[in-house]
Amino acid sequence: MNYTGIIGNNARNSTNRTLLQYIQKHFGGSDQITLCEIADVPVFNKPESHVAPPAVAKIAAAIEQADGVIIATPEYDHTVPAVLSNTLEWLAYTTEALKDKPVFIVGASYGALGTSRAQGHLRIMLNGPDLGARVLPGQEYLLGHSLQAFDEDGMMVVAEDIQSLEDHMKYFAEFVKSNQGK
């Protein structure tokens, strides 16, 4: 499979970045995974032209060529961080890149909950008519205590976390395939 991973954070140190980089490494044998950063996306200001700035166009192109998209979201103040919703606002306003695109949501948090509230909100956003993505239903990958989840080289240390991630990725691959048939 050919996936695009979106790192939903602009912080220099983010365990969501580590998580996606780990996914890229761990599944690199079978899947090709391209990662996108969103720190360079400018502040969304509803330009009259409806033209995507270069940073957004680049992400849109990466999404369009992919079979599926994996979004890693942090949770700030019980919801999706501004920097990620900002990117989604641009994508909704200037492109249809996520329309009918299979999406798998993951998230890592320092605390126990693993961004569950942000993921719930992100699901609602992606399901809305302006984005219209096809979010993998019935599956949530929540990585709690993310500072302890990786070693210094960014490898996951807990076997169950890895197993669970592999299961989720299998479901997602099937979901992508079943969507491609349509």
Partner: protein, 818 residues
């Protein structure tokens, strides 16, 4: 009643904005509603903290002062707009003005939902602990189909909608009063008494005693015995004062001493817990109020110096010796800059003194090889001096004398050759002849001048600082860098100079092309203006400003984002910016010096096991050696960068004994802290540092065989001492750290700052690391102290002379006009 209305959109013409503007008008009898825009907020980024900007602190203050807040939101993709979310993230990061604040949510949408989904999410967000607002329950005001909802005067058209908004607002005003009762929670109840805790200082634990009455922190006593003096003193003094005055733990760290500052806060927080109260409540309280007067503080001086390191203090002292009124402005709470961190030796050729020492084996060979350097390797302007040096060397080598040789010419040529470098694009650089000549001709005078001020040098030892190439180091008898700073500071004060600390210079003031002073801001945020006809920039380099180093770098293949520095955190290149703002030219900015064997996190040299290079065994993250450990700093640094930056110094029990920086107690502490690795086997050590055990064992086996053979066929190391064989084994993590930035403002030999046309900028002088051109591409160890005390003095001498000329001019023209 005072209410803040947050317009939750950055779009100029939206119903969200109209709705709040309408409320402001419509309810003006009941409450004063001040509208707050979020358009200018940058997108939140925790790695680029803006919490101290005027915009954020100003808005936070308004929210804190208000009785309640109304937030108006629109809906993007079923959520609140990212601009509003970003604003809330800023307000929940370091500032917490929404804590316990009554908030009313209203919203609108052009479609039917009326922002229902966004409002729901907004309520959840306001509940988050970083915000901690108290949101008015029920009373959901959802304005749908908003495009048609307002008339041309911006008033709502539908009477039913107006009435419902009125009801909601009335309920909110009632709610604000109820919330006041809830806010009683903020009141602290301590178990009165005195509690002992340990704060972390720079040198370990510091005992603290915190005394509480029923509702207040009454006293904080810190036992600072065993802590170093200097900047930490400001922490011990300032932080307890602020905590007690403001009854808050939301207190800023003291610049340059953030670890120690954090230690104090953690210590008091622990005491609060012991006294049975919740420290989190104190952490969320507003920062202590600063009493900022609107009027700037103004000073008059003949000469104003920017920066309180060795350069600035010697410039100030020189200006005072000439009888000039002198002010020195330092942005940190204490003077000292980088000078206070140095190991101490200062280069100056003093043959009379050096000749009393015996020559060391090998020194004659070094001189001979220098003498035989072919002319084509020497740039034309240095040729005449080089030939003269050849004559001196020939005479010395032909004689049968066995004393230590030196001369100004040797110092000059070594400084010049040491600074010759080529960058990645093939540009060559070497030291400006006039600057190098001025340095070597005056360095010894600087030593004598310092002695007169009170600095004591060790007459019995002529040292070679690391990377100095020759033994001409004058070493303070004790206290290293502190010896220079403490004496100069005392002298400046005694002579009536004024040192203003905690004050950051913002811009230089110019009138008719001449410097007339500077504008700064002090700790309280108050504007400070110093009127002076001469400004001396002595603010140091920019090794603590990684972004700036990356921006200019043309020498290293890579400068990591998280590279450490051996410098004071004050070295952020402020003076370079101040200079270029008034048209100064720059020179050599792409070159910088790295210290290859530094602590990966702190940049410090003296952590782990620092042993003589003959005993260095450096391995990369694969467990392989990668360089001749005896190489120069530049080669070691680049080799480390090529190998991913991080590497390890491997040692055994015997090599450990040659470490000159540590004690068994410190070693055990570092092993426990995980900053130094120790194991009884090499395999175990390899596992700890995550390299292949077989690979590391093979590497060490090979190294040991090279020690036996006295020859290293892999990397050509030829100076060996000990093998790695006796357990326990050690691995010290190391990484190159930024040590000195070579480039800076372009100056002439009198320390005038030059503009791009090569002309002097009248009244502006620069000296020390803020200036470039002298050391060019690389600097000899021991030459920066020679530089700062020589050019610091020269800058002041020039300024003083020209100040007198200016004064004479002014008198002359005044008498003409009579």
């Amino acid at each position: 009643m005072k209410i803040i209305g947050v317009i939750g959109t950055n779009s100029a013409n939206s119903a969200t904005r109209k709705l709040l503007e309408y409320m402001q008008q419509h309810f003006k009898q009941q409450a004063e509603i001040e509208l707050l825009e979020i358009t200018d907020y940058p997108l939140f980024n925790e790695s680029d903290d803006q919490s101290e900007s005027a915009l954020l602190t100003g808005d936070a203050k308004k929210i804190e002062a208000a009785d309640g807040v109304i937030i108006s939101t629109s809906e993007h993709n079923r959520m609140i707009p990212s601009s509003l979310k970003s604003f809330l993230e800023w307000m929940s990061f370091k500032l917490h003005p929404f804590n316990n604040k009554p908030v009313m949510v209203v919203g609108s949408s052009v479609t039917k939902q009326g922002s229902a989904s966004a409002q729901l999410a907004l309520r959840q967000t306001l509940d988050a602990p970083g915000l901690g607002a108290i949101v008015l329950p029920g009373n959901e005001f959802l304005l749908s189909s908003s495009a048609a909802a307002f008339d041309e005067n911006g008033a709502l058209k539908d009477q039913g909608t107006i009435d419902f908004l009125g009801t909601c607002f009335k309920n909110f005003l009632q709610f604000v009063k109820v919330a006041d009762v809830l806010n009683g929670v903020d009141e602290m109840n301590f178990e009165p008494g005195t509690y002992s805790v340990m704060a972390s200082g720079h040198n370990g634990k510091v005992p603290m005693k915190v005394t509480f009455s029923e509702n207040r922190i009454e006293n904080i006593e810190i036992d600072t015995e065993g802590e170093t003096t200097g900047i930490a003193d400001t922490v011990w003094e300032r932080m307890p004062q602020q905590i007690i005055d403001g009854q808050t733990l939301n207190v800023d760290a003291v610049s340059g001493a953030s670890d120690t500052s954090r230690g104090v806060l953690t210590g008091v927080a622990e005491a609060v817990s012991l006294a049975g109260a919740d420290p989190d409540v104190l952490k969320k309280r507003p920062k202590p109020a600063k009493n900022v007067a609107d009027e700037p503080v103004e000073y008059e001086a003949d000469v104003v110096v920017v920066g309180g390191g060795g350069t600035g203090l010697s410039a100030a002292a020189t200006s005072l010796q000439a009888g000039k009124k002198t002010i020195l402005v330092e942005k940190f709470p204490a003077v000292g800059g980088n000078t206070i961190r140095t190991g101490g030796p200062m280069n100056a050729a003093d043959p009379e003194w050096q000749n009393t020492f015996d020559a060391l084996p090998g020194e004659a060979a070094t001189l001979k090889s220098l003498m035989e350097t072919p002319d084509e390797k020497i740039d034309p302007e240095y040729l005449e001096d080089f030939h003269a040096l050849q004559g001196q060397l020939k005479e010395y080598l032909d004689s049968d004398k066995h004393f230590l040789f030196d001369s100004k010419l040797l110092h000059e040529i070594q400084t010049y050759l040491g600074g010759k470098r080529q960058d990645l694009s093939g540009n060559d650089i070497h030291g400006d002849y006039n600057l190098v000549k001025t340095l070597v001709d005056n360095a010894l005078d600087s030593v004598k001048w310092l002695q007169n001020i009170g600095v004591r040098f060790d007459p019995n030892e002529v040292t070679m600082p690391v990377g100095a190439k020759w033994r001409r180091g004058h070493k303070p008898l004790e206290n290293q860098g502190y010896e220079y700073i403490s004496n100069l500071q005392r002298y400046v004060k005694e002579e009536g100079g004024q040192i203003i600390t905690d004050t950051r210079v913002k811009k230089l003031l110019q009138q008719d092309g001449k410097l007339v002073g500077l504008e700064a801001e002090n700790f309280d945020g108050q504007k400070v203006i110093v009127h002076a006809s001469s400004v001396i920039l002595a603010s140091g380099g920019f090794a603590a400003n990684t972004k700036m180093v990356q921006q200019y770098n043309t020498y290293w293949t890579k400068v990591d984002d998280d590279i450490a520095t051996s410098n004071s955190p004050a070295m952020t290149g402020d003076g370079i910016k101040l200079g270029t703002d008034v048209g100064a030219d720059l020179v050599g900015m792409g070159f910088s010096q790295m210290m290859p064997v530094s602590d990966p996190v702190t940049g410090e040299l003296f952590s782990g096991l620092q042993v003589p290079p003959a005993n260095f065994v450096m391995v990369n993250n694969k467990g392989d050696r990668f360089v001749d450990e005896y190489e120069s700093r530049d080669v070691l640094s680049q080799a480390a960068i090529d190998n991913g930056g991080l590497f390890y110094l491997i040692a055994d029990d015997n090599i450990k004994a040659t470490a000159y920086n540590t004690s068994q107690e410190k070693i055990d502490e570092q092993v426990a802290a995980g900053t130094l690795f120790r194991d009884d086997t090499l395999e175990g050590l390899a596992a700890q540092i995550k390299v292949d055990p077989a690979e590391l064992v093979q590497t060490i086996k090979n190294y040991n065989s090279y020690v036996d053979a006295g020859k290293d066929p892999e990397f050509g190391k030829d100076v060996f001492d000990l093998k790695v064989e006796k357990a326990p084994f050690y691995a010290t993590p190391r990484k190159p750290a930024l040590h000195h930035t070579m480039g800076g403002l372009k100056i002439d030999k009198q320390a005038h700052v030059l503009n791009e046309a090569g002309e002097k900028i009248t009244g502006l002088y620069a000296a020390g690391e803020v200036a470039g051109g002298l050391h060019a591409g690389n600097r000899l160890g021991g030459n920066s102290l020679a530089d700062i005390f020589t050019f610091g003095r020269i800058a002041a001498q020039t300024a003083v002379t020209e100040h007198e000329e200016l004064a004479t001019d002014a008198t002359t023209s005044a008498s003409h006009s009579e």
